[in-house]
């Protein structure tokens, strides 16, 4: 199972800087890498501050593509809190930074052991994105490219004895990602848009020779912005995650393919302030190995403040 923090971080990395007030949709086991509409270019001198809370319910037990009953009644969840700042270097170049807090919870309800928690400071990100085309009155297409570096600032020594990597707040390894995003508007007001994005990520080994390896996500969707400050987006994500490795060998029952559907809404409380919420649900999954716990559902709430 993919570590939530890994994908969360890379997902947020992919989000970049979004002056429009969009929230990053972070990711987790079985969930898309990032919001497909997360690559909107900035304006020179603008900056943005965003806080996002995510809840990942990881309680589905799946054999290949078949959900099976979990008689151990295991609950597995991850919560994340992301603080993200972005700054427009120019109308085409944007830099971003993100810090995270992560809390993993695990409990087998048939056991005499209580809930186990691995929580603390998560990894951090720096991103750089470039948008040679942006949607405007005269241009109905956007094209953006991005690169990100994940910095292993997170705690990865939680638990006594030490938790497995997927219960650690931090990954303990450097990582990187790259993405491309293309969108098309259907009017000058650009209320209706369709988009497609592709993102890739790779992760190094931590000092225990464990790696979450890489993944690829292809996303597509449609969004609509109303006159009343309400914005709605629906998207489909196809995600392929490599098996994790330790000592260079693949770990069984990690990695796989997921198809997820997501619905996001955002409401502008003021010209420079917006709240948003989202849900991600699995549509189909085909997971490596014989049994994996994976995402049942994901929810997010966010607040975005634009500084001009």
């Amino acid at each position: 199972m993919k570590s939530p923090i890994v994908l969360l971080v890379v997902g947020a990395m992919s989000a970049g800087f979004m002056p429009s007030g969009r929230a990053a949709t972070c990711s987790c086991a079985g969930v898309a890498l990032s919001s497909a509409d997360a690559y909107i270019a900035s304006k020179a001198g603008d900056s943005q501050l965003a806080v996002t809370y995510n809840y990942f319910d990881l309680s589905d037990l799946v054999a290949g593509s078949t959900e099976v009953n979990d008689e151990t009644q295991r609950d597995r969840a991850t919560q994340t809190l992301l603080l993200r700042y972005g700054y427009g270097l120019s109308d085409r170049w944007t830099v971003g930074a993100l810090v995270s807090g992560v809390r993993h919870e695990r409990q087998v309800r048939t056991s005499n052991q209580g809930e186990q928690i691995g929580e603390g400071l998560g990894d951090s990100l720096v991103t750089l994105s470039y948008s040679p085309q942006q949607i405007s009155v005269w241009n109905r297409q956007q094209l953006s490219f991005g690169l990100g570096v994940r910095i292993p600032t997170g705690e990865d020594d939680k638990g006594s004895p030490l938790f497995l990597e997927d219960m650690q707040p931090g990954q303990g390894a450097w990582g990187g990602s790259a993405w491309v995003y293309w969108a098309r508007a259907y009017s000058q007001a650009a209320r209706l848009k369709t988009f497609v994005s592709l993102s890739l990520s790779e992760t190094g080994e931590n000092d225990r020779e464990y790696s979450f390896e890489g993944e690829t996500t292809l996303s597509g969707g449609i969004s609509y912005a109303s006159d009343l400050g309400l914005w709605v987006q629906a998207a489909i994500d196809l995600r392929d995650a490599d098996p994790h490795t330790r000592f260079g060998g693949e770990l069984p029952n990690t990695g796989g393919q997921w198809i997820n559907g997501s619905l996001s809404v955002q409401y502008s409380l003021a010209p420079d302030l917006a709240v948003n919420a989202g849900v991600v649900l699995p549509i189909h999954r085909d997971l490596e190995g014989s049994l994996q716990f994976t995402t049942r559902q994901q929810f997010s709430l966010g607040l975005v403040y634009n500084i001009q």
Binding site: R74, E119, F163, L303
Partner: protein
């Protein structure tokens, strides 16, 4: 905003209040083994569910087993039972009873080691469960009476109220289904109706049984043999030796170590090994020769014939019992991790 703020507050509050949640074993106190070498396997305590009410089938109903499937074979009070790896790969512990005798059959799929322990005679709840922790990549169990943690391959309590106590090992044999069935045609075999939704036709660890990879670190790496080679290890009275199962003769082979006064009997073709003290309670030291019989495996100089559990079944010493050595089959990498001074023997 309020909703978001509340969510964030809940998160931060929870972060601040979960320090005790970092305890990865519910029994506090010291460890007999280096704590920093104890690993979280991932599923959590009881995340791999033990079998606590196993159901058995007659051999005629064992169609899910192939002849070369490995099983743990047990005979208690004249009753033979087989516990297939195919099922124990998913459960690791089976708490069972032979009449009033409580036993636990434990098998670690990562180290390929199987044992049968006597259930705790003093405990109201003699059962063991899977702790979710590993030492040298090997199963750590816990007992449900005292919540003590037990290292399987050391057969010792390593954490908790009963720390440093030894488990009482009972004789068992690891072999193929075909061999076991030929030895004990009336054997019962564990049913797939375990109460858990597991696909017992699938091995849960990919290519682990045959590849070179380890899933968890071990304290000592020894590349004299392939890491997953199955060896029959002996560790007793300062003797630590490993006999590769595949190096035994195809038929039954007996190795008499006269100096150390023990005997090893094994067969690569029938896929088993066992080791016993060659000295009887009265001080008589025996030497053995192999017999190629379906049920009996060796004969001593008196003409007494012995079975795979070290019981005299025919001849002048019928009814006598050889004392088993501390011995079991495991993957080489795991045996070498626990017993780094092991001498590899060539039968």
């Amino acid at each position: 905003m309020l909703f978001l703020g509340l969510g964030a507050l809940l998160f931060i509050t929870a972060c601040g209040g979960g320090s005790s949640g970092g305890d990865n074993s519910s029994a506090g106190g010291e460890w007999l083994i280096p704590e920093d070498e104890v690993r979280d396997g991932g599923p959590g305590k009881d995340g791999i569910p033990s079998l606590d009410s196993p159901i058995f089938l007659s051999p005629e109903n064992s169609g899910y087993l192939a002849d070369d499937d490995l099983v743990i074979g047990v005979v208690r009070n004249g009753e033979a039972r087989a516990y297939p790896h195919r099922i124990l790969d998913w459960h690791e512990v089976a708490n069972d009873e032979f009449g009033s005798e409580k036993v636990t059959i434990n098998y670690c799929p990562l180290t390929g080691s199987a044992m049968m322990w006597q259930g705790d005679l003093e405990a109201a709840n003699a059962e063991f469960g899977v702790s979710g922790l590993l030492f040298n990549s090997n199963l750590i169990m816990y007992d449900r009476e005292s919540d003590t943690y037990w290292s399987q391959m050391l057969a010792t309590a390593v954490h908790g109220p009963r720390i440093d106590e030894k488990a009482t090992l009972l004789p068992m044999v690891e072999t193929t289904w075909a061999t076991w069935r030929s030895l004990y045609p009336d054997t019962a075999v564990l049913s797939r109706s375990t109460g858990f939704s597991r696909d017992y036709s699938r091995y849960p660890y990919g290519s682990f049984r045959t590849d070179q990879n380890l899933l968890f670190p071990v304290a000592n790496s020894d590349n004299r043999l392939h890491p997953k080679l199955r060896v029959f290890g002996i560790s007793q009275d300062g003797i630590t030796r490993a006999y590769p199962i595949e190096a035994f003769a195809d038929g039954v082979q007996v190795i008499n170590d006269v100096n150390e006064a023990y005997v090893v009997v094994g067969s690569s073709g029938r896929n088993f090994a066992a080791a016993f003290s060659a000295t009887l309670d009265d001080g008589t030291q025996l030497t053995f020769s192999p017999i190629q019989d379906d049920t009996l495996v060796m004969e001593d100089e008196s003409g007494t014939r012995w079975d795979l559990f070290g019981q005299a079944q025919e001849g002048p010493r019928v009814g006598e019992q050889l004392t088993p050595l501390f011995s079991y089959t495991a993957y080489w990498y795991a045996w070498a991790a626990f017993f780094p001074t092991t001498e590899v023997m060539s039968p």
